[in-house]
Symmetry: C2
Subunit: 739 residues, 2 copies
């Protein structure tokens, strides 16, 4: 690894296209401070090709960029700028394979049902590419997320819309009071390295080892259980309560992240809501492969094989349920898609902030917004949403103009589980006892379980906790802001963590800092009371609250969580700088192909690269890098203030135009600054040239728009071809080359 290198990732779709325009600008500026930006391919196509590289001819072989970066995370000087990439679903993977095959790469298809050795080999290779495969490799540290000053300032001056809150709103969070993970959680801290055994003991005394789990000293191990009976009773009560009180019923789960337990929870909601249907057609559904955990959509899908008349009968039975049940919140009222259609449509961390921003309302069958009972069966985190709803009823909607900010320091390193733990989550097949037994045969924890219960264990290592405490203290010091550790007295897991936090806090100078430990309700209330008074509060949380709060607060503060600065200070000392979410990237690519207009906003890249420069400057004692960073931040602020972000409309400034303005403002700032005279001289001419040629460059960037841009690959882009498309201004290219 070169001494002063920033690794910039080549990912997929819009961010990858934008990179073709933006990286040359970053590179040109960085060169003046003796910094090199290297592009590393972690795109879906790149990952596929590298996985089969040994089977491809030498001119088609591709390096494994992800493996390279993964190893780099152990380097204390690692500096990685990570753009959003595709977490491939199966359809996406198949599309990418097809594209690569059509481009002449001789790679196998994905074998849905692998039989031969070759197929099994292919399946194994593809399984490492599917889903969220990049973050676990690169996120070798805890999480530091905040709203950058420029973004916060822009939001204050240009507040997004916020739905008003009525004091008479009937919306609320509904959750289990008993029988859930929260109320059954047990937790222990291991005193030595050892392998524990997760066991099921049947009513007949038989012991089944479900899993052997190697643990290290200091590791926190939790176990907990959701009672199936109590869960179903809760759903029934909640539905009846909603019906009686004439309020819309809306289920919010996290079936993506909790991919074992939450689909089961979701399935119970479906079978309780449509109880009459499932009672009548249960066996039939079983025969034709209906899986309620996949939602009502699965019913509609699978009954297509049945005779028309029977289909009609079932559909009628489904419709009849709506007579006795409360109205369901809709995902797409035009298409009649409800909250219970697909488990992954309504994801709590995104859906609850949207509901809160929308006056506490969800969308109804009539296409209008209505008060809703937001049902989140597990009470662990659901309570913070009820607290927030009560707060909004009392104090009105948050005001982006005046509100403070709640940055987050999240315990994420080494897969801090809290949520997740799929390999240790089990749906009980019989009544009995689930227990965890240590190496000496002592029972560490146990739960009485019944058939259908959802039992899970999860583990959190000590080193990341220690690092997390340090990061919390560092952030409190750097931003001179109170920091609150969100640790709930009523959670066994949190009480184990609390002991560690109290111990590790002693390792730091916290003199003059305001560091507190609070329960979730106290912490969110404290943060909200401060936020409406314009005050900031750092939330130092576990992994789930990291996920939830870095949506909740940013969506209130900034209207989106995509504009957050997301840093992973790695355990080994390096840093990864993540840029915003890429949710809408496919639409962006489509617009580029059809009209040669890329609406992708590279704001996240601007912000991440500034921090990347800054940290590199500090580590290498490179003063110029620090000045580059400061001026880049100022340029970003100016770009926001002057509204030079990409327009959605073809013919107006797009991604490329915004890059030009960033370069111009950045050069102007560098030329004008007095901190580093050499750098000012270096950029004087560039600033002058870009300023003088603004009109010409913008004209060149605009005139290419309106006709299709020829892209020969969607997943496996041709960088040369894309560079031609993304850098169409000769004037701009020449001026930049003159640096």
């Amino acid at each position: 690894m070169s001494k002063q290198t920033i690794y910039y990732t080549l990912t997929d779709e819009a961010p990858a296209l934008a990179t073709a325009s933006l990286l040359p600008i970053f590179g040109a500026f960085a060169k003046e401070a003796d910094i090199e930006l290297k592009l590393t391919d972690i795109s879906l196509a790149g990952r596929i090709l590298s996985a089969f590289s040994d089977l491809l001819p030498s001119d088609q072989k591709v390096e494994d960029g992800l493996k390279f970066l993964g190893e780099l995370t152990a380097d204390p000087k690692a500096n990685i700028v990570k753009l959003p990439n595709i977490s491939a679903s199966l359809p996406q993977l198949n599309a990418a394979i097809k594209e690569l095959q059509s481009q002449g790469f001789d790679i196998p298809a994905y074998p849905e049902n692998a039989q031969s050795d070759a197929e099994k080999d292919a399946q194994a290779r593809y399984s490492k590419i599917l889903g969220s495969a990049v973050n676990p490799v690169l996120r070798q540290g805890n999480s530091d997320r905040r709203a950058p000053a420029a973004v916060k300032g822009f939001a204050r001056k240009n507040p997004h819309s916020m739905g008003k809150w009525s004091k008479t709103s009937t919306s609320h969070a509904d959750y289990m009071r008993d029988g859930d993970f929260f109320s059954s959680e047990q937790s222990v801290t291991m005193d030595s390295d050892q392998t524990v055994s997760i066991e099921f003991v049947g009513k007949d005394g038989s012991v089944e080892v479900k899993k052997s789990l190697p643990l290290i000293a200091g590791e926190v191990l939790d176990s907990m259980n959701i009672s199936c009976k109590k869960l179903r009773a809760f759903f029934e009560e909640s539905l009846q309560d909603a019906k009686e009180n004439n309020i819309m019923w809306s289920l919010h789960v996290k079936a993506t992240m909790m991919k074992v337990s939450h689909p089961i929870v979701f399935g119970h909601a479906v079978t309780v809501f449509y109880k009459d249907v499932f009672e009548k057609y249960g066996e039939l559904f079983n025969d034709i492969g209906v899986n309620p955990n996949n939602g009502l959509g699965s019913v509609y899908d699978k009954i297509k094989t049945l005779p028309e008349a029977q289909q009609a009968e079932i559909k009628q039975a489904i419709e009849a349920c709506y007579e006795t049940r409360p109205e369901l919140a809709m995902v797409d009222s035009d298409k009649g898609i409800t909250n219970l259609h697909v488990p992954s449509d309504v994801i709590v961390d995104a859906s609850m902030p949207a509901m809160i921003r929308n006056s506490g309302k969800m969308w109804g069958r009539d296409g209008k917004a209505h008060d809703a009972k937001a049902v989140m069966p597990e009470s662990t985190y659901a309570r913070i949403y009820q607290e927030t709803i009560n707060f909004c009823k009392t104090n009105g909607a948050f005001d982006p103009v005046t509100m403070g900010t709640v940055p987050n320091v999240g315990l994420m390193a080494q897969k801090a589980e809290e949520y997740g733990s799929h390999d240790k989550t089990f749906e009980m097949q019989a009544d009995g006892v689930m227990r965890i037994v240590d190496a000496k045969g002592n029972v560490l924890m146990q739960h009485n379980v019944e058939k259908g219960d959802i039992w899970r264990a999860c583990q959190t290592k000590d080193a990341p906790i220690r690092d997390w405490v340090k990061l919390g203290v560092t952030r409190a010091r750097q931003s001179d802001t109170p920091a609150v550790f969100w640790l709930d007295e009523e959670r066994a897991h949190d009480n184990e963590l609390r002991k560690k936090v109290e111990t590790y806090l002693k390792e730091h100078d916290i003199n003059g800092l305001d560091i507190r430990i609070m329960s979730y309700n106290e912490a969110i209330r404290f943060s909200m009371e401060r936020i409406i008074r314009g005050q900031d509060t750092i939330s130092v949380t576990g992994n789930v609250l990291r996920d939830y709060l870095t949506d909740l607060f940013p969506i209130m503060e900034l209207g989106t969580s995509a504009k957050m600065l997301s840093i992973v200070p790695m355990l080994q000392g390096g840093g990864m700088y993540e840029t915003g979410a890429g949710g809408s990237a496919p639409k962006h690519v489509q617009q580029l192909m059809e009209e040669n207009h890329l609406r992708w906003d590279s704001l996240g890249e601007f912000l991440a690269v500034a921090v990347s420069f800054e940290e590199l400057g500090i580590k290498h004692n490179n003063e110029k890098a620090i000045v580059l960073a400061k001026c880049l931040d100022k340029a970003t602020g100016k770009l926001l203030d002057t509204n030079k972000s990409p327009s959605r409309k073809t013919g107006e400034i797009d991604n490329r135009g915004s890059h030009f303005y960033l370069a111009m403002y950045w050069a102007q700032e560098l030329a004008a600054q007095t901190e580093n005279a050499e750098l000012a001289t270096q950029f004087a001419s560039l600033a002058k040239e870009l300023t003088a040629k603004e009109a010409a460059i913008i004209a060149e960037l605009t005139e290419v728009q309106g006709k299709p841009a020829g892209l020969s690959g969607y997943y496996n882009i041709n960088l040369e071809e894309v560079t031609k498309i993304m850098r169409p201004s000769n004037t701009f290219n020449q001026v930049l080359a003159s640096l």
Copy 2:
């Protein structure tokens, strides 16, 4: 003053009647421990007669019992049992005068419009008797209120009804966010004894001294203002919000205690609600003497002088208002009496707990309970009700069976004003500045005011604050319970108090105690989170919160605040033991007169006398007194458990019967105890006799019921006559006399 005397007050109505039966029992038992119980007359009639004693013939002269007890409060060994008395309204005063005159007392009528010197003299004498005239004289200490163990235990075993709370309730508290006392409060602590000047400075620079105020060093002085414009705008907005959201509108003020400011606030509510009527008939109303501060009742009352047609027109105009306004909460839906009829009908500290106990509902025009917007313009204390409402929506109604208790230590001594301060409350007659100027001419505080604003100052002396801190610590120690000082960071007054609390806490050993200082919202939330988990928390509060919380929590815990033990540990070392509220006493007297059944429950007296004995025992080192106290508490518990409290139904056990059972259980406990053998011997025979003759005595007490009891005086009772009525069991009287 005798060395071992308890002063027992003769008051009014039912408590006075009950005294004729109960005091002989207390006296007989006390005698055995060398304690004398002396009866001191502080009844309304007694106070009138003593005020005119110099004008009455010698055989009609009456001692001034209140003055005597007032002086006694300075005695470190003062021991006073204070029963509920009449805080006379003008109609009550007039009725008492009339009764006394008819009994041959030559006292003057109350001169509504005093002209002659004699009339002026009479008015001056009566003014000291009107209203709340007793408590300010006797309450020479702070307040210690708690639910006695026997009462709390009884409530847990026999829970009162509690309305369920719906998660979809739309009820809420509504209050000003700006322009009220809370947001304008200023506060200073005096550094020396001096007289300050409250001044109004007009727009023309003229200075009017409204009041000279002598203050002592360490005294806290506050000033604050309600903006009339903002108050009226708030009412209008609140009404429109209620109308739009179809929720009942309910005004909750404290016109009795805040007798200057709150009637004005109430008046604005009336003139805003009936805006169209007051705009049209304002001048006419002025002419005929309508005072909106007296409520809509005043309109109906005064227009009676107008021609029928005009009356009808006005009534129609009033009815028309209901078309454009939200539904009003009713005080008496049968009679069509709304919340705006009379200012003293709905008193926040009683009405809000009732609403919260009743599922957050108030009574509507249809005689049914509905969700309501509870309007309390001043936000200072209103916020705790919103917090409570949110809490109930989230957690459901409180459960008397499992809930903990919240005793109170209240800052009350030396008229700690906070509320009150009638002589320093002004309705502004013009725009200008209200300021307080110290002896050197420095402006301590000032407010810009507008015509119609309500400005007030209020004072709190240092010695009571110091004593209050001590009492808080003592109670925390004695009951081993966390104590929370409710001091709001956002209130200027509370910040002055906070400094003193922090200083005075250092005077005490608080090692091992859990003593906290919290804002109101934090404190009530903390207390509620604990209470639903069965945990107790002492609230250490100012004078208003004392008043509010000793209704709110007791009504949730016990169903009534009348069963609370209320102690005033006096600044000079003595103690006053107050017994429960006498709100429904007039109805009780009526039932006695008609059916010779007194349903008054002397539970408060049982509890107060037990503490009175206990404290006397400690002070005089009288062991027997302490044992008497313990056994009395046990007897009270047994009486509750065996359901020997008075029935409301004639023919069943009434007040007298419950006194018998108290005596029997008390004697049994004394005979059975082993702590003091002498006392056991002394009471052995009594216990035996009472137990043996239970049936006979109850029969004698029951057979007198069902026919009218002849009472020759309502206000000025004839104690001999009343004693005959109240002690009708010869058997019981003889057994008691044999002691």
